[in-house]
Amino acid sequence: MKQMSTMRFGLAAAVSLAVACAAEAQEKVKVGLVLSLSGPPAALGVQAKNGFELALKDLGGKLGGREAEVFVVDDELKPDVAVTKVKALIDRDKVDFIVGPIFSNVLGAIVKPVTDSKVFLVSPNAGSSTLAGRGCNPFYFSTSYQNDQVHQVSGHVAQARGYKKTYLVAPNYQAGKDAISGFKRDYKGEVVEESYVPLNTLDFQSEISKIASMKPDAIYAFLPGGMGVNFIKQYKQAGLADRIPVLSAFTVDESTLPAQGEAALGMFSGSNWAPDLDTAQNKRFVAGYLAAYNAVPASYAFHAYDAALLIDSAVKATKGDVADKQALRTAMLKADFTSLRGDFKFSQNGFPIQDFYLTKVGKRPDGKFETQISEKVFSNYADPYAKDCAATN
């Protein structure tokens, strides 16, 4: 026994120089998931985590042919906490990729520590404008969208439908302000009120009273997570749902619909995807997610699934080499994988060029609720900031 291990050791030592690269290739590809997994936004983070894990399962536990190891951390929706945990992922766990976060304020905090360490950051949701234009970063990729685009969809639709007066409501933080400016990009009618509510407001009754008394033609709401659940239920209870149409983003989606139920039926959202999007791979994904988690996937799960496919395709292209960052970036930028959404390519800034849809909440045959594509609003739409990006290969 001892003899044998000595012999093995000798053998290994003899060829160690020759197979240095191969030895590295046997090490696992390490991915850190940085998501909001506690508090009111927990449902969103859980969706993304499930989506990524489902993709990994479908890929046989491998990324680009190499065994994958995943570290999951909760950013608690606190930028400072996120930075500490991200540093641990990079310095202690030596991750090659980080997938996350859900929220833009966390993204703003972690993007520098991650990319300065030459670790690739793949965002499954947040896509701040600051990272899309002049501040674009060669180590940052997004499988979602640039934030403004989803809001712009609703503004575009409001304009096309000829709504003369709209009422806008969003939380009082950066993404809320981005949402409202995104909505106004294509909307030229009168905005009767830009209402900013404190982040994590639970009771919207006074907001709803104001909406009722101002009688706009439509409202636009950006109220993610628990806020959206409360707002929509209270909006319905106040009897407004049948009178004033709701356009939204991140307010009615599959993470909030189980709690909103009937109250959200018929409400509109801007999105780049919906569970009923008609591609073969998407049908398989939705069925797989339903079977594994007994829930309809939301866009967070879909983006995280695509993030895993993206990493898989890049590692495959470099034949398992994650040390050559330049080659890896080139491979990532090619986006050589079949996205669940169908056609997919990156702009120079690492944001997708893709179609955008208006979705409407409907009931599935199995009684669960989902968003369903109502019309295509933009085709092959690149974000407007991409032209300012000077990131080079």
Partner: protein, 306 residues
């Protein structure tokens, strides 16, 4: 700014204030009578909401769900008192804060393990699901009116119990001088347990009442308990009457502040700056109110006499 809208916002403020009162009433009794700081009071509000949601789903009726949730919340409160809080009465406030914070973490995590992270929801009972048209096109949900009625009802009940029964007399005596009450032969420990369980049930009742309008989630008690502390500090610790008035005051200031502050500022600033400043000031108003109250009356509006 129309009069109707102002009227509705006053109703909204009252409704919010009454929910705060239900939570703060138990807190002020526990703090006032036992001199015990219970940060975990907000968790009992969360537990009440979850119990109402779970029992409503089980029985298919909100009323039955509520009826089952209340005694369960009471039992949970009593069990917590026996297992944890009883051993903390003699300790310093800092120890109590630390230990009850631990209870928050424990129960929040337990709720997350049992019911998951996704918010739960229950429907408003059919009989109360309509809305009343107060003015042309302005609707007010019947369920909110029911919350106002329930809050006022509990307020009245507490007033009668505390001021006109023997039990209430003991509670008031306990708030003024607990050792003396004990020396006079009253089983103060039993009284404490009763007060604690009752306080937990009131918080649970508040949680159950808001369950149909708010989403039920593990961290829902965190913000409420902070405002409840503001309420009892303004009202005077240990005083039900003070808590009632302070809760209404806080509810009104918070709701109307968001609505009136930007409008008032528009008189002196240009509209964009006014709405920006108004937004920033509105959430602070409650705390400014507390600071002002403490400045004028350091023991609160109606302190229990010591």
């Amino acid at each position: 700014m129309s009069t109707t809208l102002l009227l509705i916002q006053i109703l909204n403020g009252l409704q919010f204030g009454l929910i705060l009162f239900l939570v703060a009433a138990g807190l002020t009794l526990v703090f006032g009578v036992m001199d015990f700081i219970n940060l975990a009071h907000g968790v009992q509000y969360m537990v009440g909401a979850y119990l109402a949601a779970a029992f409503s789903a089980m029985f298919g009726s909100f009323v039955l769900g509520l009826a089952a949730a209340l005694p369960t919340a009471l039992v949970i409160g009593l069990v917590l008192e026996l297992l944890v809080f009883r051993h903390l009465y003699a300790r310093s406030h800092l120890d109590q804060v630390l230990a009850t914070f631990g209870v928050i973490v424990f129960l929040t995590e337990a709720a997350r393990m049992i019911w998951g992270v996704e918010p739960l929801s229950i429907d408003v009972p059919a009989a109360l699901s309509g809305s009343i048209e107060i003015a042309d096109g302005v609707l007010y949900p019947v369920y909110r009116v029911a919350i106002i009625a329930a809050g006022l009802g509990v307020g009245l009940l507490l007033y009668v119990v505390v001021n006109h029964t023997r039990l209430g007399m003991l509670i008031r005596a306990g708030a003024s001088n607990a050792p003396m009450v004990s020396a006079l032969g009253v089983d103060i420990r039993l009284l404490f347990t009763f007060v604690f369980g009752f306080g937990a049930m009131l918080a649970g009742f508040a949680g159950a009442m808001v369950a149909p309008i708010l989403s039920v989630e593990p961290s829902m008690g965190d913000t409420v308990v902070i405002l409840a502390f503001v309420v009892i500090v303004i009202g005077g610790i240990g005083s039900i009457r003070g808590t009632f008035l302070a809760a209404l005051l806080v509810g009104l200031v918070d709701t109307l502040g968001r609505f009136v502050a930007p409008a008032l500022l528009k008189l002196v600033l240009d509209p964009a700056a006014a709405s920006q400043t108004g937004r920033a000031i509105a959430p602070m108003l409650v705390y400014i109110l507390m600071a002002a109250t403490l400045f004028v009356r350091p023991a609160g509006l109606f302190p229990a006499r010591r």
